[in-house]
Amino acid sequence: MSVLVIAEHDNAELKPATLSTVTAGLQLGEVDIFVAGSDCGSVAEAAARIPGVGKVLKADAADLKEGLAENIAPLIVELTSSYSHVLAAATTDGKNILPRVAALIDVAQISEITEVVDADTFIRPIFAGNAMATVKSSDGIKIITVRTTAFEAAPAEGGSAGVEDLTGTTDAGLSKFVSQELTVSERPELTSAKIVISGGRGMQSGDNFPMLEEIADKLGAAVGASRAAVDAGFVPNDYQVGQTGKVVAPELYIAVGISGAIQHLAGMKDSKVIVAINKDEEAPIFQVADYGLAADLFDAVPALSAELDKS
């Protein structure tokens, strides 16, 4: 089996999601990595240092800078004939690009796998993770997105794979990048943070989120939110944890003022330790929490902040 992993990166750094995808890939066979970007040499070098990687294929062109699916998918299609499996992290980039690849080679994609059973068989969540389906693919090439929280990150250092440059046309002429507004934060990324503190509808206003940020800064945590808090306009969508947002599985997840709708649980129930703070003792979040505190968050959160200062 030979596996192609599509690198997740921002042209400067290889993202940790790639390391988890490599782990899934190594369970299937030998792994090569494809890096598509612009001035992405440092990313290709980082990919080459992952132990177990055979080679890194790099396509470096201005049209590939912003990860447009219309431009990147045809490049991956050209590579597919040499591989039995093509894997990408189930990030917004992976989800955007890989189905386009799958359709171009007439293959059914297997989305967000959480387990590799064998070369043809995979486990994936359906219905917001309320059921797990074991599916077997009859396609010659498997196109797969990987739920990164389900696979340990591969080591980032220790390998010394070669880097090959690919050339060819890179502008499909269908789409153009205009602009981006990325959330700038000093805190860790939500999907790779060891601790996440999330707020829900109970926060009442975006003005109250600094309370959570204060705790986050004391714990080195990322700040997330439930869909209710995002829909209410408290925080932007990239904070959203759940079925339609991000899936996280940190060491510690602190849910503040979150009732625990199944769609939210879908995004965080694999966290190692879950803490829930909610004034409603009947809130469903307490059924999955390791430690529950039935209290008004506007009392409990400042108290938590003060308690963390005591050593």
Binding site: E66, A69, E70, T92, D93, K95, N96, I97, P99, R100, A102, A103, L104, D106, A108, Q109, S111, I126, F127, A128, G129, A131, M132, A133, T134, V135, K136, S137, S138, D139, G173, S175, K176, F177, Q180, E181, L182, T183, T191, V230, D231, N237, D238, T244, E251, L252, V273, I274, V275, F286, A289, D290, Y291, G292, A294, A295, A303, L304, E307, L308
Partner: protein
Amino acid sequence: MKVLVGVKRVVDYNVKIRVNSEQTAVETANVKMSMNPFDEIAVEEGIRLKEAGIADELIAVSVGPTQSQETIRTALAMGADRGILVETDVMTEPLAVAKCLKALIEKEAPDLVIVGKQAIDDDANQTGQMLAALMGWSQGTFASNLELNDGTLKVTREVDGGLQTVDLKMPAIVTTDLRLNEPRYASLPNIMKAKKKPIDVTNPDELGVDVSPRLTVLKVEEPPKRQAGVMVEDVAQLVDKLRNEAKVI
């Protein structure tokens, strides 16, 4: 401009699903079914384009069993002009749905196709991207805003790090994210009016599409249950437990 939207009949958002006793599927008998919430957003966006005078016809398409007519009827009650059902009892995969939609696009020649970013049953998040690939069209996935000027569609996309805006060459495929709009409820008069709107019924054979699944579902299981933990008295006890018992801070 003609707009086509895809609507899928799924187990209602609020239903707590159960795996059947044979562990082969999720129980759907006697369960409330509704339009996939992301597809409601697609229909709403199509209606708004009509109301803005940009679109002149809105067609709602569903691929699924006979009962999917109800889902199309909901789209008609919201404001779509007519419906097309591609009738099949096969549990169609996104690739098969994309092929059916492609066949319909070749007949109907829409300028814009809007579908939900994912269906809340299989959570695949594939159909729109696959359709764009099969058509050789541009794709604006996870859209939170659309703006049409001079044959270019400006799409704001919700990406992991924030927002990305792209210009798409038309015709284009858009997949909806939650913040694109808030779908309306159909009013009673519109529900009555929708009963008179036409729904054409075709099937994959007529369209020349092979919808046989490529994936075999070997087993469907409940995920491992998380045991409820303990309630703590106060914040001091909570911090103590996190420090000394769970050792996570």
